[in-house]
Amino acid sequence: MTSTLTPPTGTGSDGDDSRPPRASRLTWRQRISIFDVKASPYAYVAPFFLLFGLVGLFPLAYTFWVSLFDWDLLKGQGDFVGMENFWAILNDRFFWNSIRNTISIFLLSAIPQLAMALLLAYLLDQGLRAKTFWRMSILLPYVVTPVAVAIIFSSVFNEADGLVNNLLNLIGIPDQQWKHDTFLSHIAIASMVNWRWTGYNTLILLAAMQAVPRDLYESAAIDGAGAARRFFSVTIPSIRPTLIFVVITATIGGLQIFTEPRLFDVSNAGGIGGADRQFQTTVLFMWELAFFRRDFGEASAVAWLLFLLIVAFGLVNFLLSRRVATGDARGGRRAARRAARKGADA
């Protein structure tokens, strides 16, 4: 060990020997300038890392520490219990109920939303007149805050005389139990998310569609691909990286959904996600554990399990997107060519 270490030290000291004479020739001003160049970048990034570590990463890590203890909201830290909080949560049917609800609401919002956003982006990509007007109109619901959205839709889905049931009555369908039925309440909550975010995602997809080289469409059209064919064989493959980006952000946000279920039916269930927890999501469950049942230990365990779930979802998406993104441009062209060939054969 020592023998291998010595030579570098030797050369290092050589370097040091040669440096002082040069350094002494530098003026004060030059030395300050060198220090300025070397140290400034760190000074610029330091505030971010310090603050982010303090208020972002430290609490997250400390959550794990809390999850290892009996920890009461009021009484504070109790006995060390190891992984017991985790086992308790993993055996808690309300936890699994919340996971099911979260994923169900997520799927009900992500899939229709993506389909709708794709259609709208396609329509907006048609060289419209007054395109700024259309884009702004599509984005309008985005400026309504989630709390206001939840309040509005809670009223729209009111079981006795809400707008939705009134409209259903109009076409002969009786009142539906939007707040008591599990599946219907998931649809109602998903519709809030859809309403607010479809326009936003439409614009992201529109930007990606506009970046697709127009000659792809032309060559596909020359070879006889119709509009639908061009959409599925040229547009979709070309914007796939953006599609996956949208899916990832929707996943990270969707798995943490809180405001909408919290405020959907406050009067009947005190805002913990329905009288039978039929729409209690995982963050809502964590919030209830921590601030209603005062169990910080178990609530922290929920936070960490949800964190792992989100990271797992994110990782899968990332690997997926990387695989797709690398073959992206070629994929688009290949698809176009394939479409063209098919068209030519026909």
Binding site: D125, I152, N158, E218, A221, I222, S267, A290, L306
Partner: protein, 312 residues
């Protein structure tokens, strides 16, 4: 946003090469003008169907908001109507009741202070760090940047329990400072500014500034800052929206007597009897500030969303 380049040629090509397609493309019965944009990309103008579908979506999207205003300007009975379209004259009366029920002006002021402080902080620190990552060379730069990107996906919201314990320890619960501090920086902000600045500032410009004897901080103020301004505006807009709409953390750390607009609004709904015309009046009142922002800065918002898509 390069759609408007005229490309008349392809339209002609399509005509010549595949005459059997012509009917399909010409279905809208319009001579091709070769405006060159459009997914079809073939010079056809969008037809009635396109505008009709879009209009249906826009009306469907706007109606819940309009409906809220109609109910908010009527009475609780208005909500029972099947498809109310015409606002009543009760909005001011209902708004007055909202002001009685919740500390609306205090909440509005708190939200403005919180969102503005967070916006200024996030934009400042993100620009500084983003510039360093984009244009300065230092040991560990790439590693730190990967760290920033990785943390973007981390749901820091899940750290609220220790955060709450710390705030209680500091005696900050109930104070708006407790809402501001946890969001003073965001990883997304740094990433966003870095992506923008890496393209817009030529390295030669920074080199030139240094040759002219400007030190680092001078270079930052005179070269980076002017170039970063458009991105700073967009980042500021999004940060403001994010801070303004946040609900979970203010709900936990603030008391009902010193709320943000969102937590105050949610208080309107508690209680067994709900007068929806008053609750919805509150929702409409709380939406007005962002509607104003939308009218003033909607174009920047749109270009920000669309720019983020291409970069991200």
């Amino acid at each position: 946003m390069t759609t408007a380049t005229p490309e008349p040629v392809p339209a002609v090509e399509v005509d010549v090469v595949s005459p059997d397609r012509r009917e399909k493309v010409d279905k809208y019965g319009r001579p091709r003008r070769g405006r060159g944009s459009g997914n079809a990309g073939l010079g056809s103008r969008p037809g009635f169907l396109t505008y009709g579908l879009l209009a249906a979506f826009v009306i469907g999207g706007a109606y819940p908001l309009w409906w809220s205003y109609v109910v908010a300007s009527g009475t609780n009975a208005t909500r029972g109507e099947t498809l109310p379209l015409i606002p009543g004259g009760n909005f001011l009366a209902n708004a007055a009741q909202v002001l009685d029920a919740i500390p609306f002006w205090l909440a509005l002021w708190n939200s403005i202070v919180i969102s503005s402080t967070i916006t200024i902080s996030v934009v400042t620190f993100s620009t500084l760090a983003g510039y360093a990552f984009a244009k300065l060379r230092f040991r560990g730069r790439d590693g730190l940047m990967i760290f920033v990107i990785a943390t973007m996906a981390i749901p820091t919201q899940l750290g609220i329990i220790p955060l709450f314990m710390v705030m209680r320890e500091l005696g900050w619960t109930g104070e708006i400072g407790a809402v501001i501090v946890p969001t003073l920086v965001t990883a997304f902000g740094v990433f966003f500014m870095r992506q923008y600045l890496v393209d817009v500032i030529p390295d030669e410009l920074i080199e030139a500034a240094r040759v002219d004897g400007a030190n680092q901080i001078r270079t930052f103020f005179h070269v980076a800052l002017p170039a970063a301004r458009p991105a700073m505006a967009i980042l500021g807009l999004f940060t403001f929206m994010m801070a303004w709409t946040d609900y979970l953390w203010p709900l936990i750390v603030l008391s009902p007597t010193n709320p943000t607009l969102q937590t105050a609004l949610s208080q309107l709904q508690s209680g067994y009897y709900i007068d929806y015309s008053i609750v919805l009046a509150g929702a409409v009142m709380a939406t007005i500030p962002l509607l104003i922002l939308f009218v003033v800065a909607g174009k920047q918002l749109i270009s920000g969303i669309m720019a983020g898509a291409v970069k991200g």
